[in-house]
């Protein structure tokens, strides 16, 4: 066993796991409150990437700073999408909402492709090649920053939901919608805000991964399936569960890749997923059997 491979595998696994967690956080919030599986989440991530790309290309704004624009922009897009497209169907069967979010995703992706062509884009920040060397392990600075921001975003969202009135209202709607209505909470407004926050998280994730990932209208699909697995694995609606699950999935893939061909790297991570769900069907943070 080559020590460089093993140590690099652990480091890379944690870093990519942070990316998965970042992408999954908004998804788990939307599911936890609205009970909707948002298939447009990947497309919203890409919208965030494009916004960050144009801010960098035309105004020289660093992607990590562009979130101050991307987050409000995606919040508005998300809230309006929920209000106009999803809200009328909130009482429809669940699969109808799924189809609507799929349609929303297709619309966003193909709008981007139509407006700016499907050509791939890439940015080059000044620190793109900066690395941190820890013995045999090299850690790109961009990925380390993204990991740190994933932790920060998870914490920020947790505190928002715990400490603010809107956060409490969101949690109330997640726990029991009818009771929340009886308590005087405007659930329609809360649903729009929640979807907006979920979209903002997706957009922020897009901005954070732009320094080291390529951009194209359909790149959201690359992360979407893994994000769903992370959400389920971490217990739907639980941020810390999503964060932990992201790390485990990332580590599983990276370490799996050391011993197995790349095509089979998911065998390790998904085996862990299945085993954990067998004993804890509600996910990592759910109740055991």
């Amino acid at each position: 066993m080559n020590s460089e491979l093993l140590l690099q595998g652990i480091a890379s696994g944690l870093l990519i796991g942070g990316v998965y967690a970042l992408v999954a956080i908004g998804l788990t919030l939307v599911y936890g409150v609205l009970n909707i599986i948002n298939f447009a989440h990947g497309a919203l991530l890409v919208v965030g990437m494009y916004a960050s790309y144009f801010l960098f290309t035309y105004f020289g704004i660093d992607p990590y700073l562009s979130v101050f624009v991307v987050i409000p922009l995606l919040f508005i897009i998300g809230a309006l999408s929920q209000k106009i497209v999803i809200n009328p169907l909130m009482n429809a069967p669940a699969h109808i909402c799924v189809f609507v979010t799929i349609g929303l995703g297709y619309f966003l992706e193909n709008f981007l492709a139509f407006a700016w062509s499907p050509e791939y884009r890439n940015i080059e920040v000044s620190y793109a090649r900066s690395i941190l060397s820890l013995g045999e392990v090299t850690i790109p600075v961009t990925r380390l920053v993204t990991f740190a921001l994933a932790v920060f975003l998870t914490l920020a969202l947790y505190l928002f939901l715990k400490k603010t009135d809107i956060g409490k209202a969101i949690r109330a709607c997640a726990q029991e919608k009818d009771a929340a209505v009886l308590m005087g909470i405007d659930t329609k407004k809360i649903f729009a805000i929640t979807f907006g926050i979920g979209a903002a998280c997706a957009g922020a994730a897009g901005a954070f991964i732009l320094p080291f990932f390529y951009l194209g209208p359909y790149v959201g699909h690359t992360f979407l399936l893994t994000a769903f697995i992370v959400v389920v694995f971490g217990s739907m609606g639980n941020f810390w569960g999503a964060f932990l699950a992201g790390l485990i999935i990332g580590l599983g893939e990276s370490i799996g890749e050391i011993f197995l061909p790349s095509a089979m790297k998911e065998v390790v991570s998904l085996s862990i997923f299945i085993i954990v769900l067998f004993f804890r069907p509600a996910g990592l943070m759910g109740q055991p059997r």
């Binding site: 690099q8 492709a113 062509s117 090299t138 194209g216 359909y218 990276s254 061909p261 790349s262 095509a263």
Partner: protein, 417 residues
């Protein structure tokens, strides 16, 4: 009482006249239908995992169709104009198949493209069964013309020729520099395209006695290339053979730059190298990559500059190499249609077998002729080996067409970034 109807002599003569007139002037005979418009099918990746190449091929093909129609269509078919029914396979074989079925119900007898060899394999089976001619305009998977199918043609090189050319270029550069290659690594996507590239790379490496120290396949759509690059770093081959679609190529290259992964040369099989975004978006990280592609801007290719000008005027930017494949695919098909005088797949396929178009004639702007063997492959098609130097694709092989010397071994990262 029954009344027998009889036909008088006058009526008989009238009917005979009408019948003769109709048979001469009005009723189309099989094989000589005078069509105003000829429908062809196109199945390309326009959305999904790797749409950028599909977009460029589509544009190249569009330019060709517009030119053909402006020049009077297919003359042997009464000036029939070509009209493509465009479909999108999204990078999914099941969608490609559904689109092919839809095209078949619309009477399409010839389908072009579809860019991805794995998808072409599925389409080829369908087309063979339904007697539809599959014209590969940008699909290099070698196995595609080895299935014993009748209804398939390919005007450009396949993977086997591609790899032979790439390895030959390495032979020449070793002789020139005296820096010999002893070990090689492979990094490839794991569909038919990548697997055949690896297969022929192994054959070529074994012929030369090069030790294969890394053999890494992966599924298309990487989220992270770190472990792949780390494995390559540990294996430390002299040369790396890479076979990846554009998106994965971009991610891999970025990761190699991040990790300062050094190798004396990276030879890349098509796709990623042929996409303009690979060169423009990666900047210095892409310097010195070597790839095999047709060249849409090579000064020695007969007549290519006019095509480039027309492309620039039509689409607002220079012609990418992928677009050139799409353009030539349709122009070669035109020759076959003119020879056949029909879009009947058997006759068009026969026309391909009899075709010989030297470079510089009938819109063949390649450095090889158009001719086809019994498998549907053009055995004379070769690629140009090009290297990215100062942000531009520059031909380095074959030596008659070299614009610059092959840079080998490439400089270390410290001198490049």
């Amino acid at each position: 009482m029954e009344t027998k109807k009889t036909i008088g002599r006058r009526s008989f003569l009238e009917m005979l006249g009408v019948g003769l007139g109709a048979s001469v002037f009005g009723i189309p005979r099989s094989g000589t239908a005078q069509k105003k418009e000829m429908l062809l099918g196109s199945i390309l990746p326009m959305t999904g995992g790797d749409p950028e190449p599909g977009y460029h091929v589509f544009n190249g093909r569009t330019l060709a169709v517009e030119k053909i129609n402006a020049e009077g269509g297919i003359k042997s078919m009464g000036g029939a104009k070509i009209k493509f029914i465009n479909t999108d396979h999204q990078g999914k074989p099941e969608v490609a198949l559904a689109e092919a079925e839809r095209l078949a119900t619309q009477g399409v007898k010839i389908i072009t493209c579809p860019f991805m060899s794995g998808i072409a394999l599925v389409l080829g089976q369908f087309c063979e069964k339904n007697r539809i001619l599959l014209v590969l305009t940008n699909c290099v998977g070698y196995e595609l013309t080895q299935q014993g199918w009748k209804y398939i043609t390919r005007h450009h090189f396949n993977n086997k020729i591609n790899l032979q050319d790439l390895f030959s270029s390495l032979d020449d550069v070793q002789k020139k520099t005296g820096d010999s290659i002893k070990t090689i690594g492979f990094l490839y996507e794991n569909s038919i395209w990548g697997n055949t590239a690896a297969k022929f790379s192994k054959e070529e490496s074994n012929k030369r006695g090069w030790k294969i120290v890394a053999d890494l396949s992966y599924p298309m759509g990487l989220t992270d290339a770190t472990m792949l690059v780390t494995k390559l770093k540990v294996a430390n081959p002299d040369v790396l053979m890479s076979c990846s679609y554009v998106a994965d190529n971009i991610l891999t290259m970025k990761t190699m730059a991040e990790k300062r992964y050094y190798v004396k040369s990276i030879i890349s099989v098509g796709s990623g190298m042929m996409s303009p975004s690979f060169v423009t978006q990666l900047g210095k990280a892409a310097e010195y990559w070597v790839g095999s592609a047709p060249r849409a801007t090579h000064p020695k290719l007969p007549g290519i500059s006019q095509v480039n000008e027309a492309y620039q005027k039509r689409f607002g930017h220079g012609m990418p190499d992928l677009a050139m494949l799409g353009y030539h695919g349709v122009m070669c098909l035109r020759v076959a249609l003119e020879m056949a005088g029909t879009d009947d797949p058997d006759k068009v396929r026969q026309a391909y077998s009899k075709m010989y178009v030297p470079p510089g004639q009938q819109e063949n702007h390649n450095h090889y002729p158009w001719k086809f063997d019994e498998t549907g492959q053009n055995p004379e098609a070769h690629c140009m080996v090009s290297q990215i130097v100062d942000g531009k694709l520059t031909t380095v092989w074959p030596l008659d067409y070299a614009e610059k010397d092959f840079v080998y071994p490439i400089p270390p990262w410290e001198k490049r970034l």
